[in-house]
């Protein structure tokens, strides 16, 4: 096994660090209802939203009403220098005003300090439906889509550069929100089908509209996201409000003209691909031919045409005749970015299979099998679980692919099946804790991984809201944290370190004090720039590199 030894970034006096040509990652935005992780919510607990004003206005909350029907999605804006006495524990509150949100759930206490508003929001419960379950940039990086456990999809759009508000360059604001999937009930099997969005994949843009596929456990939907900024006016038969005109009043015929209107984003379901999967869908992947896509569940992979909903082709089927002989399941699948005939799927045994659709209609027989021989000395109770691949991603070049299992990330060269070319230990210190992680189900967490645009840096998540980046060229790595405490705009993220044994240094965190409820499972990297979106339970963090954010 080729283990890449990564040296940790030395923290300099300013505490800045990064990797990938020494990128310094800066916090840009965080989007979420509250600061609380739903996993640790208890009634009446207080959290803090730092809401910072831009100018003289006192209440500068930007509450986007256009979306989620039942919550406020507060966007944090420009940073102001911190006032003395403003620490993380919630300060004093000179003034108290209480009001409720439109669903009468939140209790907000506002304290006004000069020109800044610090809002302490007490929420009754954190909602499990807010947990983000997938994050995906589109092909240009202009749009960022997130899906959550409640079946909703929120699309963010990057603001264009304008001279008037230089500080808001490159920020992502809510573009649209819609309810993609609803909970369903399968009456035949007496099963409830969760509405949680498992994956979102964008289609390459072919016209003015954007298309994305979203899927839950059983059903895939194709959505069209389009803008409307003009509307026709001057109908002959209808008046401005849409009521029918009294025909006697119509004296002159006019041709309706398109007049500009406020931008409206419409999201409509164009196709619904249903009833093709017996087991839970875990991946979807759009083919490079832009006409077909595949959906993979635990035992089968189906090939669809984007325009045809009433049938799909089954291309991989690993279901054994006798289910009692089941030994492995499909955990992730993806099409090759350039070759429309190649796809790869990973299994729970830690193997990857590359299939060529030209070889046969049913790709049960793999063309290449990527498997690293298991080290027999490592066998223990949980080695089968930790070797199960949770995510597989092709590099942008198509030459490499990356797999994530519980403890490592492996980079494979498509030309070499015997072993990965690089292996990165993510949190090896958990080896000794596998039993307790098994008990609390954390060992089943499915982490995702991401390539950067140039395939030189890979990123993946871990516990305690840590995420790690590895530079494949310099062999340096960094551990960063996504937390509200570090969330001052354009604050450079300080590298974190987990102390594995012996003496714990000042800034280090010991393994035992890691919070296993705070996990970063889903993330995405902008296709071309150094912008990352990291989902920490119910909050979405957006980080940019320092160079990037200063330019705008």
């Amino acid at each position: 096994m080729h283990l890449v030894q990564c040296e940790s970034i030395e923290t300099n006096s300013q505490g800045a660090g990064g990797c990938g040509n020494d990128i310094q990652w800066c916090f840009t935005q965080v989007k979420g209802t509250t600061d609380l992780d739903v996993s640790e919510v208890h009634c009446g607990s207080a959290c803090r939203l730092i809401l910072l004003s831009m100018g003289e206005d006192i209440d500068t909350r930007k509450i986007n009403n256009s979306f989620l029907r039942d919550q406020n999605y507060v966007t944090e804006g420009e940073a102001l220098p911190q006032l003395p006495g403003d620490d993380q524990t919630g300060g004093g509150l000179p003034d108290i005003r209480i009001f409720t949100t439109f669903e009468e759930r939140a209790l907000e206490v506002m304290g006004e300090v000069e020109d800044r508003a610090i809002i302490n929001a007490e929420v009754s419960t954190g909602r499990k439906a807010d947990i983000i379950s997938t994050v995906e940039f589109n092909h240009t990086g202009e749009l960022l889509a997130t899906g959550d456990k409640g079946g909703r999809v929120v699309i963010f759009q990057r603001e264009q550069e304008t001279k008037s508000q230089p500080h808001h360059q490159g920020e992502y604001n809510v573009y649209s929100t819609f309810q993609s999937h609803e909970p369903e009930f399968d009456y035949l099997k007496s099963l409830e089908i969760e509405e949680k969005i498992n994956k979102i994949r964008w289609l390459p843009q072919q016209n003015a509209a954007h298309f994305l596929l979203s899927t839950n456990d059983k059903t895939i939907k194709l959505w069209k996201v389009s803008e409307r900024d003009k509307r026709p006016e001057g109908y002959n038969l209808k008046d401005e409000e849409g009521r029918m005109k009294d025909l006697s009043t119509v004296t002159v015929l006019q041709v309706p003209v398109l007049k500009p209107m406020d931008l409206m984003v419409e999201v409509t379901p164009r196709k619904i691909f249903a009833n093709a999967h017996t087991y839970h869908i875990n991946s979807i992947s759009v083919n490079s031919d832009c006409e077909t896509y595949m959906s993979a569940d635990d035992l089968r992979i189906n090939l669809w045409h984007l325009g045809i909903t009433d049938r799909s082709f089954n291309i991989v089927d690993i279901k054994p005749v006798d289910m009692e002989e089941l030994t492995e399941v499909i955990t992730a699948a993806e099409f090759h970015p350039h070759h429309c005939n190649l796809l790869v799927y990973s299994s729970s045994k830690g193997t990857l299979r590359l299939c060529d659709m030209r070889a046969a209609a049913l790709c049960d027989k793999h063309s290449k099998l990527f498997e690293e021989p298991e080290d027999p000395s490592n066998r223990f109770f949980f080695s089968e679980i930790t070797s199960s691949v949770s995510d597989v991603k092709f590099s942008h070049s198509g030459r490499y692919m990356m797999t994530r299992d519980y403890l490592t990330v492996k980079v494979w060269d498509l030309n070499m099946e015997t072993k990965p070319i690089e292996t990165y230990q993510i949190h090896d210190y958990l080896q000794s804790k596998l039993c307790s992680l098994y008990e609390n189900d954390c060992i089943f967490d499915k982490f995702e991984c991401a390539w950067n645009g140039s395939d030189s840096v890979i990123m993946t998540g871990a516990y305690n809201n840590f995420f790690r980046m590895f530079d494949r060229n310099t062999k340096r790595d960094v551990t960063l944290e996504a937390s509200r405490e570090n969330s001052k705009p354009r604050a450079v993220l300080k590298p974190r370190k987990v102390c594995t044994g012996g003496k714990r240094r000042k800034d280090e965190i010991s393994v035992d004090s890691l919070d296993f409820n705070k996990k970063i499972l889903h993330m995405a990297w902008h296709p071309t720039e150094n912008i990352i979106a990291v989902a920490a339970t119910n909050n979405l963090y957006i980080f940019q590199d320092k160079v990037n954010s200063e330019m705008h």
């Binding site: 089908i193 087991y279 009692e324 199960s388």
Partner: protein, 323 residues
């Protein structure tokens, strides 16, 4: 040793996970349940291999404790066989030894259905039998009437009574200290009646001849399976080539008084075993019923049980197949 406790704990947790996955929202997650069943299987393997190791350890200890023994102690646990010369006083001891050996092996094996153990017992027994053949014929001559019937009678008795007669061994003085220690260790996690411990400590080091050892060996092998099947096992032991079993009248006399402690002890084991299995039954429905039925089977029955377990672990998949 700690692996065994750990393995058992993991098995319990795994079963709990499988059970709770059936009621969670969204249906059974195939991947997670597959992984849990794999963990369950490997934990079971470790657990059972620990059992076997412990047995081997005990045998080693026995060998060390009684260097003068000629009996094939390797094949049975705590077999203390006297040279065949001592016959008359040894009947009582034989009987008590038989029962003693049964009960401890009950306690050790009560909860496991092992694949590995039948294998080891078989080979051990075969070696034991070869040596016993001459002594069997000896015994046969001196045996009382209807040795087979005596066995049958014993068979008809509950395993509890077998254990009961074992505790009679309390009367004999036995200094099998290391063994009892081992036993008490194993039973730390169970409520062991005091009498049991005492009984063990009073085991007679001087054992009757190997002839008797042959029977307990087979009995011990049977203890590798479910307790309820013990009766059927004994039924077969005379058929399997053992000649007249000795000490039947004595045994009959001894099996009469049923010691409550032994009863409760074996009941405990029964309960522990059955609770473990019944939980599996609850989860997997009828597929597991084979584990509790009193079926006649050879040493491979342990294997059959295992296959049932393994098969039943996939039986939940059958439920999914119904999708």
């Amino acid at each position: 040793m700690e692996f065994k406790v750990e393995a058992h704990r993991i098995m319990t947790i795994s079963l709990g996970k499988i059970y709770s996955s059936r009621v969670q929202r969204g249906g059974i997650k195939l991947h997670k349940n597959l992984l849990v069943s794999l963990v369950l299987r490997s934990a079971r393997q470790v657990y059972l291999s620990e059992q076997e190791e412990l047995y081997l350890q005990q045998q080693q200890q026995l060998l060390l404790a009684q260097p003068g023994e000629q009996s094939p102690e390797t094949w049975s646990d705590r077999t203390e066989c006297e040279p065949p010369t001592e016959q008359s006083p040894s009947w009582a001891e034989m009987e008590s030894n038989i029962s003693k050996e049964q009960a401890p092996s009950w306690t050790e094996m009560g909860r496991t259905d092992s694949k590995e153990q039948p294998a080891s017992w078989t080979e051990v027994e075969s070696s034991g039998y070869k040596e016993q053949a001459p002594s069997w014929t000896e015994m046969a001559r001196t045996d009382s009437k209807e040795p087979a019937s005596s066995w049958t009678e014993m068979e008809s008795n509950n395993p509890e009574q077998q254990a009961a007669s074992w505790t009679e061994g309390q009367r004999t003085d036995c200094q099998e200290q290391p063994l009892s220690r081992v036993h008490s260790e194993e039973r730390t996690d169970r409520q062991s009646p005091k009498g049991l411990e005492e009984g063990r400590t009073t085991r007679e080091p001087r054992a009757p001849c190997r002839a008797v050892a042959g029977c307990p060996g087979r009995l011990v092998r049977r203890t590798a399976r479910e307790q309820e099947t013990a009766c059927t096992r004994k039924r077969r032991s005379p058929e399997q080539g053992a000649a007249a079993e000795p000490a039947s009248p004595l045994k009959r006399a001894r099996t009469e008084p049923v010691v409550l402690q032994a009863n409760s002890q074996s009941e405990e084991e029964q309960m522990e075993t059955s609770s473990n299995v019944s939980s599996l039954i609850n989860i997997f429905g009828s597929s597991f019923s084979g584990l509790l039925t009193k079926e006649e089977s050879e040493g491979e029955s342990g294997q059959i049980c295992c296959d049932q377990v393994l098969g039943s672990m996939g039986s939940w998949s059958r439920a999914i197949v119904a999708f």
